[in-house]
């Protein structure tokens, strides 16, 4: 059942559940951050509306910078501004930032350890019709390996708003992973959020889960739907939302593994290098546990509707249900 302590959305499973793009939450959080701190500036590479920086541009035109289609330049310009005391948010599609500009992020942002915030929208295969070139499914892997970098992957628009504001208050380089598509609201304004904390959104009735499901991003909703289906079939699971990939809430992951002995991970990302890898790395050292990773298996994306693609790559509700049953 849904964890009642976290004040989650009561309509999560309703067909009429409110759906908002996760990137929209970033746009709102950016305006809030701008109001709170006059040092917050925003840079875009010709994707102002798409990357949801339009509201910030309207509110703070003097703190908005149009860099043109040059993500490498954008990353390093932001690094220079951050060195002078600014808190720059650079926003684009995840495929181009942190994709195209990875080395600039590593050297000019992370090696210098300056507080540039990288908002990567359109992550995952759910970008849909645009096809594989635009579907960033390697972004968690390439950001989390860089020292000094924090990596946040919100599950809905409300969490993205909170993550954006929270990131504006830290002195570290941060990657915020965002998705394009409308995504069901899972959390509410009152749901707790802190960088570095993972949250248990679904608990087993008797607190004796047989399998732990660890999910991140928009697919947390699929994990919760699967948990409900499994509960109806009498299979108790627990669902952990790893919002912050780095620094990982190691304790939450290990505790869940100790409780269940079996873990399924779910992410809209390559199974290599993403959440699944993160979980395996920690558990293999601290509590060796059987882990089944759901995500993209060493393939590129392609055109299609988000639903078609989630099904094709095996990241949907029924895939989670099947994985849990296989582990039982």
């Amino acid at each position: 059942m849904i964890n009642k302590h976290l004040k989650l959305n009561s309509d999560i499973f309703s067909p009429e559940v409110n759906q908002i793009p996760i990137r929209q939450g970033f746009g709102e959080g950016l305006v809030e951050a701008g109001k709170e701190n006059s040092q917050v500036v925003a840079l875009v590479a010709d994707l102002t509306e798409s990357a949801k920086v339009d509201a910030f541009k309207k509110e703070f035109p003097e703190r908005f910078y149009e860099i043109g289609i040059g993500e490498q330049n954008m990353a390093s310009v932001a690094a220079g501004m951050a060195h002078m005391g600014k808190i720059p948010f650079i926003a684009s599609y995840a495929m181009f930032s942190p994709g195209r500009n990875w080395e600039q992020i590593r050297t000019t942002i992370c090696y210098n350890d300056v507080p540039v915030k990288i908002a990567g929208s359109h992550a995952g295969v759910s970008v849909g019709p645009d096809g594989g070139t635009h579907q960033a499914i390697e972004d968690i892997a390439i950001t989390r390996v860089i020292p000094n970098m924090e990596v946040i992957s919100p599950c809905d628009a409300i969490q993205a708003r909170k993550a954006t504001l929270a990131a504006s208050r830290t002195k570290t380089p941060t990657y915020i992973r965002l998705a394009r598509e409308k995504t069901p609201l899972i959390t509410t304004d009152d749901t707790p959020f802190e960088i570095g904390k993972a949250y248990t959104y679904w608990v087993a009735k008797d607190d004796k889960p047989k399998v732990g499901i660890i999910a991140t991003g928009a697919l947390v909703h699929k994990a919760l739907c699967a948990a409900q289906t499994l509960e109806e079939e009498g299979i108790a699971v627990e669902v952990l939302n790893v919002v912050t990939i780095k620094p990982l809430d190691t304790e939450a992951v290990v505790t869940l593994a100790q409780k269940t002995g079996k873990i399924v991970t779910l992410e809209e990302h390559q199974i290599a290098g993403g959440l699944g890898s993160v979980v395996c790395e920690v558990l293999s050292e601290q509590h060796p546990t059987q882990v089944m990773r759901l995500g993209v298996h060493d393939k590129f994306g392609q055109s299609g509707t988000p639903a078609e693609l989630i099904e094709y790559y095996g990241m949907g509700e029924k895939d989670v249900v099947a994985a849990v049953k296989k582990l039982l």
Partner: protein, 277 residues
């Protein structure tokens, strides 16, 4: 303008810097020789005449900012900083050694007096543009940002992105200095990847372009003074330099771009430099 006496002082400083570069490289047994020697006059002019800075207060909030984009010529930066008093001269002998503040390519975490870390080519100008935009936002346009670039480095596309942005933003307090020494690792620049006409390329990106002989102090200083008065567009100074300048054996040879002198070559170089004082 600059007096003859001041020119002599700068020439002496440049010679000291060159000798330090040779000693550092011989001790480190790796590193770049030609670029640092070729830029020694420029760096002497900046650190001992042009820059508004205070070596005892590297974080002084009125200082000019120096971005070294081609980080591999850092021996000239480190030697200039040491001679200016940022850290003891002895420290120069730790170049490239474990635990040294003088990393093989500049790292600000080890040497906080740096404005930025550098090494991977092509990203310094973007950072300098970012710093200049931040100064403008904070109404500190009276501070100058100086970005030193290599010429081979201009092969990197990111420079041209940064040039477009600086031109668009008309950043009048941004001054780039290109070390036009015509060599890079694989050979002469015009053979590896032709750059000419650099003058026309920069000008077409809406930069004001100056050309100087980078070994003539009167020219360096008078052009920088002239450049600082132009506030409507960014400035680039194409500094025609002799790579390896000061040591005949090292001059104009691509080999010395990325190789250090051995002990004997170093001693001969020092002797030659000392004879020039």
């Amino acid at each position: 303008m600059i007096t003859d006496e001041e020119v002599n002082v700068l020439a002496k400083k440049a010679n000291d810097i060159r000798q330090s570069i040779i000693r550092m490289l011989v001790e480190a047994k790796s590193g770049h020789t030609a670029g640092p020697l070729g830029m020694a006059d420029i760096f002497a002019a900046f650190y001992f005449h042009i820059l508004k800075h205070d070596p005892k207060r590297p974080d002084w909030n009125e200082r000019d900012l120096v971005v070294l984009s081609n980080g591999h010529i850092c021996p000239v930066l480190y030697a200039s900083m040491a001679h200016a008093g940022y850290f003891p001269l002895d420290t120069l002998m730790t170049l490239r050694k474990f635990g040294s503040i003088l990393q093989g390519h500049p790292h600000r975490e080890f040497l906080p007096a740096l404005e930025t870390s550098s090494g991977p080519l092509g990203s310094g100008l973007s950072q300098a543009v970012g710093m200049t935009l931040a100064l403008r936002a904070d109404k500190q346009d009276d501070r100058f940002v100086y970005c030193f670039l290599g010429d081979g480095e201009l092969n990197e596309g990111q420079n041209w992105e940064a040039m477009m942005l600086a031109g668009k933003e008309q950043l009048g307090n941004l001054i780039a200095v290109v070390d036009r020494n015509h060599i890079q690792i694989d050979g002469f620049t015009e053979d590896v990847m032709p750059l000419e006409s650099l003058y026309e390329k920069w000008a077409s990106f809406n930069w004001k372009v100056f050309e100087i002989n980078g070994h003539n102090f009167e020219e360096i200083i008078s052009i920088v003074e002239e450049a600082k008065a132009i506030r409507s567009q960014p400035i680039v100074i194409l500094s025609y330099n002799t790579p390896g300048k000061g040591v005949k054996e090292f001059e104009n040879k691509p080999y010395w771009h990325g190789n250090p002198p051995n002990k004997e070559q170093g001693e001969a170089a020092l002797k030659e430099l000392q004879s020039r004082i």
